[in-house]
């Protein structure tokens, strides 16, 4: 379905080339949800923007391939790429308020993409907008379709964004922190809705989040990013039951609720800025188990189970 191969996206800043997404490879299989997890600055959103070729200068994709339904998106002419955006791959943004245009009705915004892609007539698009609002469980869709974004609650706006994403019948949806700005109960509803939509619309999904706890119930597989690199990926059960990378372990331990005792298990220090990335493994300075070679050179990816890979010398050694 989607295969990202050795994707590298860099920023050209002050004569230096900063690798914000560094040699990232993963795939999203048909009908599955891949959870892409990382902290701010890990490069997870930039990976999504790279897939859709929405990277703005001074950023640029410097190498790699993005195979979507058999074609390399990075080699497509912009004209073709425009057809892929929305109709092939749809993006759901994090901030439902800023992603919606305040001066158009919800219905117009859902219909717009269909009209742009020439997928429906004006009347047809209107009808379909109502159907889509109904599908994402907005009550009284034929009335809501005439509402403006400010008339809706945060949860409703997020539903509208999901309806917009589904409008052109994409086969892959990328959801970038779709629940971060929402209350707990709404968050749960939106995650349930995304799961339902995946079934109903036969979608594949790339779900991006900084919170492993939130996507545990939604993802089939998990990929963990740190400082631009994918440090571990595998089936969700394997990653949760036997996390292999010290960063994944630390991330899981920092989720409140799991640990006993009052103090939480924090990861000391912070993600290094792109300008100060260490030569070896980027997590080494914060890693409790770092070995001498971790400082020298980044580790290669090692398979440790079916579909479970990790980039860490601790596992290299055991091979």
């Amino acid at each position: 379905m989607l295969e990202v191969q050795r994707l590298t996206t860099v920023f050209d800043v002050a004569g230096r080339v900063l690798r914000a997404v560094d040699d990232v490879s993963f795939e999203v299989r048909k009908g599955e949800t891949l959870g892409l997890v990382g902290e701010s600055g890990s490069g997870k959103s930039l990976t999504a923007y790279s897939i859709l070729r929405l990277v703005q200068p001074p950023g640029r994709i410097s190498s790699g391939r993005v195979l979507f339904e058999g074609r390399d998106l990075l080699a497509l002419p912009e004209r073709e790429m425009r057809k892929v955006r929305g109709a092939g791959i749809a993006l759901i943004f994090q901030e439902p308020m800023t992603a919606l245009n305040p001066v158009f009705t919800v219905g117009d915004q859902i219909a717009e993409a269909m009209l742009v892609h020439g997928l429906a007539t004006r009347a047809g698009a209107k009808r379909r907008a109502v159907e889509l609002l109904d599908a994402v469980r907005v009550a009284e869709p034929d009335r809501r379709v005439r509402d403006y974004p400010h008339q809706l609650s945060g949860g409703m706006r997020q539903r509208v964004l999901i309806a917009m994403a589904l409008a052109c019948r994409p086969s892959l949806v990328i959801a970038d922190e779709p629940t971060t700005a929402l209350d707990v109960t709404i968050q749960a509803q939106i995650l349930d809705l995304l799961r339902e939509m995946r079934e109903a619309f036969d979608l594949s999904m790339l779900l991006i989040s900084h919170d492993l706890g939130i996507i545990a119930g939604s993802a089939d597989r998990i990929a963990v990013m740190y400082a631009g690199r994918l440090v571990e990926q595998g089936p969700v059960r394997d990653v949760f039951r036997s996390p292999a990378h010290p960063y994944t372990k630390a991330l899981l331990a920092s989720i409140p609720g799991g640990a006993t005792g009052r103090r939480l298990k924090a990861i000391e220090g912070s993600v290094p800025p792109l300008t100060e990335l260490p030569r070896g493994c980027a997590f080494a300075p914060r890693c409790p188990d770092a070995l001498p070679q971790c400082q020298r050179e980044p580790p290669m990816s090692t398979g440790i189970g079916p579909g479970h890979e990790v980039r860490c010398y601790l596992h290299d050694r055991q091979e």
């Binding site: 701010s40 209350d183 709404i186 968050q187 492993l212 706890g213 609720g257 000391e268 912070s270």
Partner: protein, 293 residues
């Protein structure tokens, strides 16, 4: 004696309905009562629009309450003159949610942390300088970075700066309004641990306002659940999480994400239609209250 005692706090906002429409009145905080003992961490939870943030601001009189009583260190906060309020505020400070917008971007970290000392005319210039460096170390920041501007710090570091500023005047009560909700999970844990350490070292009392129930369960001794301006349930955190008495609390708790791929929580849908907001809190167990019939 409780450090903070809030009785029947009410805050209404009137919303105009066009030019000729009669203004409608919204009860953002509706007869809220609770008290906090010295050294305690009291959690105020609820979703957006529940009134939890307004309650916190009313206590500090950053928003003037419509009616009710707020007693802090046995003083009637709502009856204080401007000058007395200024002095009382040294003992109660607030830490805001968004470390990106709550720090003045044109001020150096040093000035931000020093400002309360200057406003309250405390210490000489040299003493203040030393105190600011001490505060920086206290919250785990490097005093070598004191001359940096907010944008040069990460989100977690900015929240530490906000905390250093709040601690400058040696307060006894800190109102922490969603102090970590804008931060990554791993950074959240650092800031939460810092709050716990500071509480032990400085004997602080916290009013912890949050919507993330996982955090509340972790650090609060007692918790009150707010909905549409009312407290619907209040009790010791462990008891309330173990046996929630109100249907809304049960729905809220059932929405907490479970960090385990094999456990699908059974979600309880909240149906507000049968809710009677007029119901008073009644005791359901030792120290456990709920607005149930």
């Amino acid at each position: 004696m409780p450090l903070l005692d809030v009785r029947n706090l009410v805050k209404t906002f009137s919303r105009s309905r066009g030019w000729w429409g009669r203004p409608s009145v919204v009860r953002a905080v509706d007869s809220v009562s609770f008290s906090i003992e010295p050294g305690e961490t009291f959690g105020l939870v609820g979703e957006s629009g529940s009134g939890k943030t307004t309650t916190g601001r009313c206590i500090l009189r950053l928003v003037e309450p419509t009616s009710g009583e707020v007693r802090f260190q046995d003083r009637d906060v709502l009856a204080l003159s401007r000058e007395e309020l200024r002095r009382t505020r040294r003992d109660m400070q607030i830490v805001f949610q968004d470390p990106y917008s709550s720090l003045n971007p044109r001020m150096r970290a040093r000035t931000i942390v020093e400002e309360p000392l200057v406003i309250h005319k405390l210490g000489t210039k040299t003493e203040r300088r030393e105190r600011v460096a001490e505060l920086f170390r206290l919250v785990g920041l490097d005093p070598a970075h004191l001359d940096r501007y907010p944008h040069e710090f990460s989100g977690g570091q900015r929240q530490r700066i906000g905390l250093a500023r709040a601690l400058a005047l040696n307060p006894s009560l800190i109102v922490a309004d969603e102090p970590v909700s804008a931060l990554d999970v791993s950074v959240q844990a650092q800031v939460i641990n810092l709050l716990i350490d500071l509480q032990e070292r400085l004997k602080l009392t916290y009013l912890f306002i949050a919507h993330d129930l996982r955090l509340v369960e972790h650090i609060c001794d007692r918790v009150a659940v707010m909905y549409r301006g009312r407290i619907l349930e209040m009790g010791h955190t462990a008891a309330l999480f173990r046996s929630p008495a109100h249907a809304y609390t049960r729905a809220l708790l059932s929405a907490i994400p479970v960090p385990d791929p094999d456990t699908r929580p059974t979600r309880i849908e909240w149906d507000a239609s049968g809710l009677d907001l007029r119901l008073p809190l009644r005791q359901v167990d030792q120290g456990h209250w709920a607005a149930t019939p």
